[in-house]
C-alpha cells in the first residue's frame, strides 16, 4: 500500500513529492480523482500508465476507474506533447470564419492530422472546442499565446518557423 505522505518515490523522481502533496491536500479521497489527475498532468505533462496505477493505489480506487476517467475527458493526455503546440479553435464562430481552411493547410504542412503529433515528436496539433475568444475568430493558441483573426498564410508561416528552428537545433 502506498502511503500518501510525501516521501521519496523509489525511482528517485522528486516530482512524485509534488503529486503526493496534491493527493494529501484532497485527503486521498477518490471523489477528487479529476483534481488529482489535473495535478498529475500539470506536473508530468501527461498521464503514463504507471502514473495511473500509482494514483489508483493512493486513492484506493480500481485502476479501471482511473483509466476510465482519464480516457473519458479530452483534457487528459496519455502521450507526451510535442515541443510546440498548435491549438486550433474549431468552435462555431471560428468554423464560420474559415478555421477548416487553416486546419487543412496546417495538416498539410505538418504531414499529420489534428489530434496527432508530428513524426519527429516536435509539433502537436490539437483542436479545441472553443477557446471563448469568438470575437476574434478564427483563433489559434500557438505555444500558449493566442493568435486572433488568423489567416491561413500566417498559420502556415508560424508552423514553418517552428520547423526551421527545429532543423537548426538538429544541426
Amino acid at each position: 500500500m502506498v502511503k500518501t505522505e510525501p516521501k521519496n518515490h523509489p525511482s528517485g523522481d522528486n516530482r512524485f513529492k509534488l503529486l503526493d502533496r496534491a493527493i494529501t491536500k484532497h485527503h486521498a479521497n477518490g471523489d477528487a480523482l479529476i483534481e488529482i489527475l489535473h495535478a498529475a498532468q500539470g506536473i508530468f505533462g501527461f498521464l503514463e500508465n504507471d502514473m495511473m496505477i500509482y494514483i489508483a493505489n493512493a486513492l484506493k480506487l480500481p485502476l479501471s476507474r482511473v483509466y476510465g476517467v482519464a480516457t473519458f475527458y479530452h483534457f487528459f493526455r496519455l502521450k507526451p506533447k510535442g515541443e510546440h503546440t498548435f491549438v486550433l479553435c474549431t468552435g462555431t464562430a471560428c468554423y464560420v470564419k474559415g478555421a477548416n481552411e487553416i486546419q487543412k493547410a496546417v495538416e498539410h504542412q505538418c504531414r499529420c492530422k489534428f489530434g496527432e503529433t508530428t513524426q519527429d515528436g516536435k509539433v502537436s496539433l490539437i483542436s479545441a472546442r472553443c477557446v471563448g475568444s469568438c470575437g476574434l475568430a478564427p483563433v489559434a493558441v500557438l505555444d500558449d499565446s493566442v493568435a486572433g483573426k488568423l489567416t491561413t498564410d500566417e498559420a502556415v508561416k508560424r508552423v514553418k518557423q517552428w520547423q526551421e528552428a527545429i532543423k537548426e537545433e538538429a544541426v
Binding site: 477518490g30 471523489d31 479529476i34 476517467v69 483534457f75 487528459f76 470564419k97 477557446v131 470575437g135 475568430a137
Partner: protein, 551 residues
Amino acid sequence: MTVEDLRELAEKELARQAEFKYRILYCSSAGCVSSGCDAVKIELKKTVAELELSKKCEIIGTGCLGLCGEGPLVIVYPDMTLYQHVDAGIARRIIEEHVGQGKKLKENELDLNDPFFATQKKIVLENMGKINAESIEEYIAADGYEALAKALTEMVPEEVIGEIRKAGLRGRGGAGYPTGLKWDIVRKGVSEQKYVVCNADEGDPGAFMDRSVLEGDPHRVLEGMAIAAYAVGANQGYIYVRAEYPLAIDRLRTAIKQAERLGLLGNRILESQFNFRIDIRIGAGAFVCGEETALLRSVMGRRGRPKVRPPYPSEKGLWDKPTVINNVETYANVAPIIRDGSAWFASIGTQKSPGTKVFAIAGNVKRPGLIEVPMGIPLRKIVFDIGGGTPEGTQFKAAQAGGPSGGCIPTEHLDIPVDYESLQTVGAMMGSGGMIVIDNTSNMVEVAKFFSEFCMDESCGKCVPCRVGTKHIHIMLDKIIKGEASESDFELLKELCVMVKETSLCGLGQSAPNGVLSTIRFFEEEYRAKLKKQDGKQSQQESSVIAAKEV
C-alpha cells in the same frame, strides 16, 4: 465582519476612488488579452510613472467591455470615454493627452450612443467596465454583498425564495426552468446536508458569456450562490468550471480567498448563524458535463455520464443529497433581484421571460462581442443594430442560437422576439446564449455537418440512439455533401433525426439532431441541390447555386 463594517468598507473605498481625478480601466477579459491588452497595461502604467501622474490617475483591469472585435479597449472615467484598438502608442497618448492635457483622442474614441451600446440593458454585466475585476473592495463599493446582507438580516429563507419566484427568474442555462421553484424543492427536501452547485461548464462552441462574467465580476456569482445556499439551507457549494478557462479559474480563486478573508464566505457569515463554503471543481473537457446529472457525477470525480431523471438533482443530487444546480448567469441575476426587488426585475423583459439575457454574438457579423439585452427584443435588433449586420458584400442568411443543440433562424423570422417560448416555435432554442451569424457564403448542409460532428464526438456513449445515431447522421450528411446520397437517403436522414431526438437519454442526444432538422426545415433546397439525381445529371437548382457562387 458585520453589516455596518461592510458599509463602512464601501464608503472607504468610494473615498479612495474619489481621490483620483481619472480612473483608467482597460478590458482584461480573454478577448482583449488575446488582442494584446497586457502591452497596453504596461505602457499605461509606465507612462503614468514617467509623468508622475500616479496621484491623479489609477490604472485598473476590468471585465469585458463588450466589443471584443475592436479590442483592446480602454475606458477613461469620469468622462466615460471609450477607446478602441488601443496599442502601446495610443496608450501612451491617452495618458499624455487625455489625462495630461484633458484632450480626447478623437480618432480612437467610440461613440457610447451607438446602437451597440444604447440598445443594451445591463443587469448581469452592470459592473463590467466599472470595477476592478480582482478587487472585492470595489465590488463592495458598487453595492456588492449588499443583497446577501439584506437576505441574512431582513429576510427568512422562504422570503428569499418568494422574491425569486415573484421576479420570475428562469434558468439562464437554456432550459428556462423557474429558479424559485427549483430552490423551493430543495428547501423542502429533508436532509441534514444540501449543496449548491454552479454550472460554469460553458461547452457550447461560440459562447463566452459565463466566462466573461466569471472573469469580470466573480463576486457577483459567489454572492448569488451564497444567497441560494441561505435560501435552501446548504452549507457547501461547488463551482464547476471548464479547464479551458484558466483566467476565470484564477479570478474565482482570488475572489473566494478575498471573500473568506472578509468573512463573506466561510463560518458565521456577516456574524449570522449562516455558514457557507465554496470549492472550485475544474472540468476536463467533456461537453456532456454541461448536462446537470453528468456534471454532478464529474464533481464527484467520475466519468461525466448522465443519469435518468427523475429523481432530479433537487431531490437527489451530489452524494444523493438535495442539490441546487444553476448556471452562472442565473446566479449573477440573484443579487440584483434581492437588492432592488422582484417588482423591478419583473418589469424588464416579457411577462413570461422577465429580465435580460446575455448573448455572445459572433460569426459573420461586423461587431462581434458580448451583449446583454432585455428578453423579447426582436432578433433583427440584435443582428443588425447591435451586431452591425454581416460584412460588406454578403447577405444575412441565418442566426444560429443555442449552440449545437439549437437551431437556425432564417431571414423570414428575423422579427421574432427573443425569449424562451418564441424561439422554440421556430425550432431553435434560447440555449446558454451563443449566437452565431451565418451569411450567404456558408452552405447550411456544411454547417449542419459541423454540428453533427461535434455531437458525435461529444456523445458520452451511454445510450445507443445517441452513440450510434449521431454517428450515422454524420455519415449521411457527409454522403450528401459528396453528392453520393439519393432521395431515399435524405428521407432516412430525416427519420433518423426524429428517432435520435425522441429516444435519447439526456439533453445532448435529444437535441443533437436539432441542427440538422432546423436546416432541413428552412434550407431544404440546399440539401436537395446536393442529392444524386437518377439520370446522374446536375439539377437545375444545383447549377444555379454553383453559378451564384462563381459570381
